[in-house]
């Protein structure tokens, strides 16, 4: 699981460079998200453009990533692909995250 971090004025962008967040990779994802958010503040946008599959373990890891944030940090999601979108909608977890159609749009100047 590779997470690529880009710092922008509006937010920190975390691009998931993997096609799946699932049972074999969920724990590693959660730990890497934890280490990426041990310092810093503001918005973190998780770009899921490349992620074509997520299961309940992966969903749990994304939720855990949000719960382990420190005060002053927020986690938003971007570019949910069809299966990922379906899993978030069915479980209604789409109601507790801000979700952007596109990560680059989410960090555009003036966006908060």
């Amino acid at each position: 699981m590779e997470l690529i971090v880009e710092h922008h004025a509006a937010a920190t962008l975390i691009r998931v460079n993997a096609t799946r967040i699932d049972a074999p990779t969920a724990l590693q994802f959660k730990e890497e998200m934890r280490s990426l958010t041990t310092r810093g503040d503001g918005r973190y946008i998780l770009d899921l453009q490349q992620v074509i599959f997520i299961d309940s373990s992966g969903l749990g890891a994304v939720v855990a990533s949000m719960k382990q944030l420190r005060p002053g940090q927020t986690l938003e999601l971007a570019a949910l692909q069809p299966i990922v979108d379906k899993v978030f909608r069915l479980t209604r977890m789409d109601t507790i995250f801000t979700i952007h159609a596109d990560a680059d749009q989410a960090i555009a100047p003036g966006k908060t």
Binding site: D22, A23, F53, S56, L59, G60, V63, R92
Partner: protein
Amino acid sequence: MPMRIRPLPPARPERSCLLALCVPALDGLTPDLLQQVDHTLAQCDAASLRDDVQIVLAEAINNIVEHAYAGPDFGAVALRVTLTKTSLCLHLTDWGHPFRDNANPDGQVPDPQDRSEGGYGWFLIRALASRTRYTRKAGRNRLCLLFRIPGTHPG
């Protein structure tokens, strides 16, 4: 143990077997298994069910890996995918522990406000499969997950 010999069930030409395989129940192998099933479905009349089948099958196999073969136990999972004109069925067999009373839950959706990190697996299975049937027999767990093919009517 006494064995009883049964006549073969009559052939059911209306039901075709698309895929049958048996693999070790290890989560690292699940993506390959899912991909094989997906390739198989892409070539048949049930292609519209591909996403739902991926989601449901992943959860069903995760349950086997985590619960049927909990702890140091290790075993196999057998999968058969069958197709009729109106439905697609995934038949999963494992030789692990039976479902505990509370491990085959009715699949209620967790409240998003609880920020729960688990408990979504059975909910997703029940939300997407048209019918689920679990049987425990002769030391085997059998789970049949049926999906109606959209636009068809069960005969």
